[in-house]
Symmetry: C2
Subunit: 216 residues, 2 copies
């Protein structure tokens, strides 16, 4: 049967958005279905009716956030740059903006990612790794390989890739601690870009060190 009015599945969408904000804010486990439906101005049973369960709603949020992420600001590719160091600079700035930015219209992907990293939800972990973590790490791997420019022993290149990831995501993960230590991570575009610049130079020098050093 056709929708009963032009505002059909308005509730479904409000539910998705309210859930996105709440899941991004506190993570899957700590989020309450009742809090979400209240924010959406809907009834508890609406989540079962429209999505089946809290977990399915979470997966729908992830799906939406993932596609919003790639359409919002596409991931830089190493192929777009002549200098792999410049590619790393761009990539780190993009990654940190994705993770750290806090604004109304910013996609939730960064915050969802942050929570999912620390305490993964069995179902969403695969979606997350396939759509986000995997591609990001692959791209960083390509950049790192180009910067080092010579073969490196086994795990080492992976270690360096995850070192770069660590520089980008840690300000988000350690947010509360950094605030207590009087060094809150930036949330505005300008502040994030500044920090990303420092991290990029740090990473480039670090990788150049491996480029000029012999494996022992």
């Amino acid at each position: 049967m056709a929708p009963r009015s032009p505002t059909h599945d308005e509730t479904k969408q409000r539910l998705l958005f309210a859930a996105g904000e709440e899941f991004a804010r506190v993570g899957f486990g700590a989020a309450s279905v009742r809090t979400i439906v209240d924010a959406a101005g809907a009834n508890v049973s609406a989540v079962k009716y429209h999505y089946g369960s809290k977990e399915n709603l979470y997966l729908a949020v992830w799906e939406f956030a993932a596609q919003q992420m790639v359409s919002d600001e596409p991931m830089p590719s190493v192929d777009d740059f002549a200098d792999p160091r410049e590619a790393l600079r761009s990539f780190i700035a993009w990654f940190m903006r994705l993770v750290l930015t806090e604004s109304e219209e910013h996609p939730w992907a960064g915050q969802l990612l942050s929570h999912e990293t620390v305490s993964p939800t069995p179902g969403a972990l695969e979606v997350f790794v396939d759509n986000c973590a995997g591609p990001i790490c692959e791209e960083i791997t390509r950049i790192v390989r180009k910067i080092i420019g010579r073969p490196v022993r086994g795990k080492t290149v992976d270690d360096l890739v995850y070192a770069v990831v660590a520089l980008c995501v840690n300000p988000k993960h350690s947010r509360e601690i950094l605030i207590k230590l009087g060094h809150p991570p930036p949330t505005t575009r300008a502040g994030i870009n500044r920090l990303a610049g420092v991290m990029a130079e740090f990473a480039i020098s670090g990788l150049d060190g491996f480029a000029s050093r012999e494996d022992r």
Copy 2:
């Protein structure tokens, strides 16, 4: 009144140890009092009787873990080394062993620290920052300053300090993701030391980059 038997406060101690393992495993919020008392072979009311509340039990665990940490393997000081780079190597190895080691007799401090970083408990956050995060960051700051060897603009030195911290703690925070990506973080002393070596060289080169570069 005197203890009723030589095995007095046996329960209190079993409670502390069971709580330590559980809090270290899943964090304060996700830990269940009933799970803890079951593991300790005690009754629910025992936690109220001996510690007053779940939160007090958590604080007791923190207290115990903190003193166990410093007595187990003391934090390296930059003053013990002629070369600050050597100090950084030692410090990173110590820090990563603290955070990553998973064994029976290892202090829980590292894992507690990991959970507390991501989702701080209002009460324990101050204790944690004062006793753990603060001293660690101060020591890294001293090392970083010595390596760079010249004054650096405002926030930059702090950014670099937290970059070093990021390298050390991220393998723990992102553990589940890294496992899914086929690159599980090490848990044995040898594996941790190897990874710490890579991170130390990466960090040293990164810092040396800042040492030889002009502020813009």
